[in-house]
Symmetry: C2
Subunit: 189 residues, 2 copies
């Protein structure tokens, strides 16, 4: 079986949500984009918020899975960080609409989903933090404030989809290299 109708709706919703934001997209907008009527969507999904949930958890699960894999891998710390950066770029190229939704519209999840999302997000950050701390302790990284380090890298990675939207045509390896350089060794020569 190929892509389900449900998944088609989710993908289309992600695209619209990215452009206008969750609250600015009505079920009628989404339906029109699918070439059907709003009520028909409810044959596939129970609510508007559930669509948002499906979008957000699809990528947040992927992030969690990948960072766990990197942690379990036995690589030098700097290569682990590189692997994470690469993973973010990778996901950005494949699912930029989903990332945009996650970043901008997680606030509009229902209470249960929101708690779950925040939990996963915190867990992800905590794992990232541990890696950076390890890097500092091994003297591979400078002893700068851990939180600033973490925040700086994460904010760049999380909003990379914005940059991608503008510059699309790109050499994956070059972007990866330049981003690693910028984030890890800095821009000053």
């Amino acid at each position: 079986m190929s892509i389900t109708r449900k998944q088609e709706i989710i993908n289309t919703a992600a695209l619209l949500f990215k452009e206008k934001g969750f609250n600015a997209v009505s079920m009628r907008d989404l339906a029109q984009e699918m070439g059907i009527k709003a009520a028909s969507i409810y044959n596939h999904l129970p609510s508007k918020q559930s669509i948002l949930g499906a979008i957000i958890f699809e990528v947040s699960v992927e992030f969690t899975t990948h960072i766990n894999a990197v942690i379990d891998d036995s690589l030098p710390i700097l290569q682990k960080l590189e692997a994470i950066i690469t993973m973010h770029i990778d996901l950005t190229l494949k699912k930029s609409e989903f990332l945009a939704c996650m970043n901008n519209d997680w606030v509009h999840l229902n209470d249960v989903d929101k708690k779950q999302y925040i939990k996963m997000r915190n867990a992800y950050e905590e794992k990232f933090r541990s890696l950076l701390l390890q890097g500092i302790q091994e003297k591979a990284l400078k002893p700068i404030d851990l939180e600033i380090m973490l925040f700086s890298i994460l904010s760049t990675l999380r909003t990379f989809y914005l940059w991608y939207a503008k510059h699309q045509m790109l050499d994956f390896e070059k972007v990866k290299g330049d981003l690693c350089t910028t984030l890890l060794t800095g821009i000053r020569s």
Copy 2:
């Protein structure tokens, strides 16, 4: 004359918009937060979108003014970059709600305001880009892809208000120093 009623409304709106997003805040929500009725707001401001416009242009004008001042200043390039970073931190501390609105809700400006905003934003980026290019040419900065450099720094600065919301209690000078280090010389030792 102290702070006007109009400005009070704008400030309150910025707070609510930051928390829930422009579309998720109704005029009745805003009015309730002010202790008045929704219709009363229209004695001070012509529309909901005009409130958003007031919020966004208040800070975007400030950004433009400041980067112009920095450019006109006769400082070495690295110190100019430092000055810009400092300015971003400064504005974050003073007006984090306004920055949050600008970042998240500029999409919901009316057409005229949106065009104007994008214009100012592009101009700001262009000035920033010129400074970085100058830095590269003077060999003060590494010859990395200019766009990635620009994007990386800007995305960190633009979302710094998110970090500030979590860590508030902070030593301004330390944050400034650590952020400059992270963004300019990188985290790798």
